[in-house]
Amino acid sequence: MNSSLLLSIVTFVYAASAVLYIASWVFKKSFPAALGRWVALAGLIGNMTGIGLRWIESYQMGIGHAPLSNLYESLVFYSAVIAIVYLVIEWRYAMPTIGAFVMPLAFLAMAYASLSPNVNDRIQPLLPALKSNWLIAHVITCFIGYAAFAVSFGLSIMYVLKARHTGDAQSLIGRFPDIRVLDELNHQMIMFGFLFLTAGIITGSVWANSAWGRYWGWDPKETWSLITWFIYATLLHARFMRGWQGKRIAYLSMAGFAAVLFTYFGVNLLPGLHSYGAMGQ
């Protein structure tokens, strides 16, 4: 079995886990969520094995490098981190309704990697500019940050729904965790994400400095990561301002996640970019 096949299977395992969590939430049964947790864990193990296998395959092809060098590989890593972050939260706080909003994100990232025709899953050798340990540190830290922001995005949706909700505690939304718990967890996730986004921008910057002699060049990808950073920095300070707590913070977190997605996928749609890591002639 090769890594691509294994990872395609993981897509369906994550899908199953997401469906179980959603079923548990919708049908008020605890069993599907308990199963969903084990399915998610199985998916995560498959996901990590897939990453390891791909690493080995690259060495067998004689172009060995850590599997963190292109869109496919980073998406695969991304869904693993989302799953890890979620499972840790579930382990610590035991609130499986959150799984109904987070595991679908792990599934979507993996599905996009495995199923989209735009994402090439071939193992390719590294261009000279990409041969740097800073790049590996950069990808890892960025995606840990992005994963935390993805979880925060799920929590923010729950927060906004719950904050608007006035019905009884047994309705769909009434069964969400307490609004203060959601807020606190959301804040934890944002702090965690901000630390790693900061580290991600910094390692990227050090890498750029070692490859091109400038730590900051305002290219669109860099700029968008900074925009994301500004949004989350705003969010961290909004807590200290009257009238900005609660829903506004949840909306800011959604805007932040939109910026994350744009940094990652949207930047390539902008006009006049240099190709990533290419060496111009």
């Binding site: 050798p125 000279p128 718990v181 606190e184 900061t198 070692s210 091109w212 700029t223």
Partner: protein, 455 residues
Amino acid sequence: MADIRTSNGIWHEIVSFFSSVRLTIVLLLSLAVTSIIGTVIPQNAAPARYFMQYGEFWFRIFSVFDFFDMYHSWWFQTMLILLAINIVVCSIERLRATWTVIFPHRVNIQSERFRKSGIAVSRTFPGTPDQAREALMQLLGKQAQLHTASENGKPAVFWETGRKSRLGVYVVHLSVVLLLIGGLMGSMWGFDGSVTIPEGERADTIQLGTGNARHRLDFAIRCDDFQIRFYENGMPSEYRSTLTIIEKDQPVLTRDILVNDPLTYKGVTIYQASYGTLPSKNKAVFEFTSRDSGMVYRQAVDVGQTITLPENLGTFTLKEFVPSYRFKGHDLGETFLGVHAPSEGGAIEIAVPVQFPSFDKMRKGIVAVSVGEAQTRYATGLQVTYDPGVWVVYTGFLLMIAGCYITFFRSHKQVYAEIHASDGNTRLEMYGIANRNRLGMERWLERLSDRLAVH
């Protein structure tokens, strides 16, 4: 001091304007939104291109607002400066207030404060209060201290940790200021340019930015060799230049550089950036066309080499390569110079321009020489930068990560516990205060009291 400040209304206004978090939010969001502009409009392209793309009207509007180089525009830089002032003023103001909390002369333990705003946990379990107090002190470790409550004279246990973690946010704010200062230092005193050096040649002047400005280095760089390696599938795997630094005509240092592995000499860093190709100076494949038979003979010739031509046409000696050759007022570009010595008659100097293969035919000699195939040599493209602010920026990087970690994951925790006898059992009333992560503190207190109960 305080009097002067309050009596001076304007000063007070300014300070409170610059210390407000509202300003921070406005600035950070404005920076986020305006930064988008420069990602939608390509920056620093030729004006003509913008003119064509946007038309005259928008070209003018965008020019007025510096949208073509917006990150260096006065308004963007002004926002950054305001942010810096905001951070400095705000941090100083707050630090003055929290300094006594972080470094108190005497820790003041008020049980009312804990009762009012602490997370409360209470338990009843068997055993004597003294035993329980002992056990709690042991669980809490060195930082625990016995305390006598002022209101009722009862013994209580007080514990705290992470007081200094409150400094973390000032470390983060300081790091932002360092990044801005470092960036400013780089743009004021540094330079960033590029130079292309053919193999075997040297250069000491670089071209700055995209314009025509040039900068002369204190030393020369010679490119001894340039190599590209490829993977099996044809993708490039490595660009390598062997460079020699030359100072006052003396070579002082020779080293290979790769992408991601630059060379730094006297604070100036030289990066592998690109490459190009040029005709070789040392050899080429020449074509000799015989006038009488019309036959074409191809042969590779090195500079300095003499070959014997077929059909008894004599010999040809390749003398040298010149980067430019003038003929009747025109520059024919890169040209090889050689000497044709026919079997009878005198030797003739001939010029063989690389770009003009039929040039030597005009001479109407018994043999016409042209370059059949120029052997190429490489020219390495180097990025050459000097940035005296880098270390300030890197210090900022380290402080920012350390400061964020401390701020987010360390907290100032305090626990106040009263333990007294109650119907032959022991009653514990414990209150915890943490400056962040209330949920975590709650869980921690619960676990602490669980452990105490089984003690």
